[in-house]
Symmetry: C2
Subunit: 324 residues, 2 copies
């Protein structure tokens, strides 16, 4: 068994069982891949793929297991190379981040600006998506970091470190009846159509539940996937917006009235996560600290060596998080 064979195997598995396509991605010839695959299957003594005629059509059950192990191996090889790269040239490399709209739009720009100034030779890749999509990227090892709020469950392979907390704000156009009220009640808010995030309505501690607990049934006029859309519709007089605190810009949004809603809705915690199996480059530590100053190398390493997220949570229980 050779590492090369495992690489070829992984490429074939990840390119729709198409050997030709895999060979192209690997910058080698198609017969080379074909042959090594066959040699690997010969050595193992069983077929990894089901063939109908000459084309690969399916993965056998045992093949599936082998592929999983192979991906694990390749990930470790990558880790070893990362250890090496970090020593050779610690300021050069790449950093892929999966994150949600709110973070990408309102929080990360300043962080990334600082980061790029410090590490001009690090290739930055930002992938925006829903938390499900980010979880998918994480599972496939396509990203180094995930930055999101809530939803710990989908990130089993990850260590999640809390970064900062934030409240929601209510935004209304100037002149709206609520604009004059400093501390509105849930009941007052519920009198108007509501415009907010899609995700705020699923799961526990959702807006839905908060209103219904108070015996109210909110009239949701629109659910959007990002704050910009929400603010746009608020401007159009569609309803009352409920957005993340950070999503309100004092300058750009000076035509809107932003009302503190920390007394109405619970606090949220944004975290940054990385694979428990991964090796962190120096600039990755630095990125985390730029995002959240309390995340120093010592603390990150302690958390990274923990077996379960519960332990990590316990570690951070004693640390006070900044509020944005």
């Amino acid at each position: 068994m050779k590492l090369q064979q495992l690489r070829y195997l992984a490429a074939v598995a990840q390119n729709g069982l198409n050997i030709t396509a895999a060979a192209e991605k690997l910058h080698t010839s198609q017969p080379a891949v074909s042959k090594q695959l066959k040699l690997l299957e010969d050595e193992l003594g069983f077929n990894i793929f089901v063939r109908s005629g000459r084309t690969l059509t399916k993965i056998t059950p045992a093949g599936q297991k082998v592929i999983e192990r192979a991906l694990h191996i390749l990930r470790e090889v990558y880790n070893i190379k990362n250890i090496s790269a970090d020593l050779k040239d610690e300021d050069r490399g790449s950093l892929s981040i999966g994150t949600t709209h709110t973070q990408a739009r309102y929080v990360l720009p300043t962080v990334i600006q600082q980061f790029r100034a410090k590490y001009p030779n690090v290739d930055l890749h930002l992938h925006q998506g829903t938390s499900e999509q980010i979880a998918e990227m994480a599972a496939l090892d396509h990203i180094d970091f995930a930055i999101a709020t809530g939803s710990h469950e989908q990130f089993r392979k990850y260590v999640l470190l809390p970064c900062y907390q934030w409240y929601r704000r209510i935004v209304v156009p100037a002149g709206h009846p609520l604009a004059l009220i400093k501390k509105p009640t849930l009941k007052q808010v519920a009198q108007y159509p509501i415009v907010t995030y899609v995700f705020s309505f699923t799961g526990p501690s959702s807006l839905q539940q908060i209103f219904s607990k108070a015996g109210l049934s909110p009239n949701v006029a629109l659910t959007a996937r990002d704050a910009d859309v929400i603010k746009t519709y608020v401007r159009l007089g569609f309803g009352v917006g409920i957005v993340a605190d950070v999503a309100v810009d004092p300058k750009e949004d000076r035509d809107l009235v932003a009302i503190d809603a920390s007394h109405l809705f619970p606090i949220h915690t944004t975290w940054i996560g990385f694979s428990r199996d991964g090796v962190l480059r120096r600039y990755m530590y630095d990125f985390m600290q730029l995002l959240a100053p309390h995340l120093n190398k010592r603390l990150i390493d302690r958390a990274g060596n923990m077996q379960s997220q519960e332990e990590v949570d316990a570690l951070f229980a004693e640390i006070e998080l900044p509020i944005r």
Copy 2:
């Protein structure tokens, strides 16, 4: 980077940084290992080992990380080969078990007898040791299974499945004053010198603590590492033995009086553990079920896929364990 190089690296690391010794174990020449090591270090761009003159003296910090990753890779390669072996010839292979004296001497013989009858072509290796030694074997991947009682903490990499429960017994020579008492009290037992396991005296719920909780300070005449030694000294009139229930054989020990002590000391649970990272061969499943009939493949797989021991414990909380 080649798998071969990682194998060589691991061998050198595990043979006291002696390249010659490593080469011998690998059935290859010393220059071959030397060269591949150097090639690997060249590729990585840093030294894995510290050399004084030409001999290797230490492992560099980065080298240590690389070695850990390499061992992980080799473990996965082994797993892939196990998947293969299981399909090719599922009745042939090897099974290494680390266990304590009590299990090896009193419980496993019948299990192993049945196992060997079913799988005559599986090489069985039994390694007896203290729980620390077994934990060490587990950490180094030298065993497939660990079977022991208590001490979950040292087996972080393992999934531990409870097998059966047992009580302690008090053994005295015929004619001893306690021999006539059906249900002795702690106070009565404490009147005589005590002969028991070394390990029963450390940690929480130890004998020491049980006695001191009752306001008694036992006179420990002898601590042994196995029940046979304990019984020998009991026969010599050295004191009152406290041993595992299973360690008393009605036939062989008919000269001793064994008194039920379930009302004095808490119940113990013996578990079998295997690496969370490992692949289980078919005969391994069968071995576990021979040891504890409730451990069927379905249940083992469910437990094996769990991330933490807490989840496994929760799974087994509902299952009634046999008492031996």
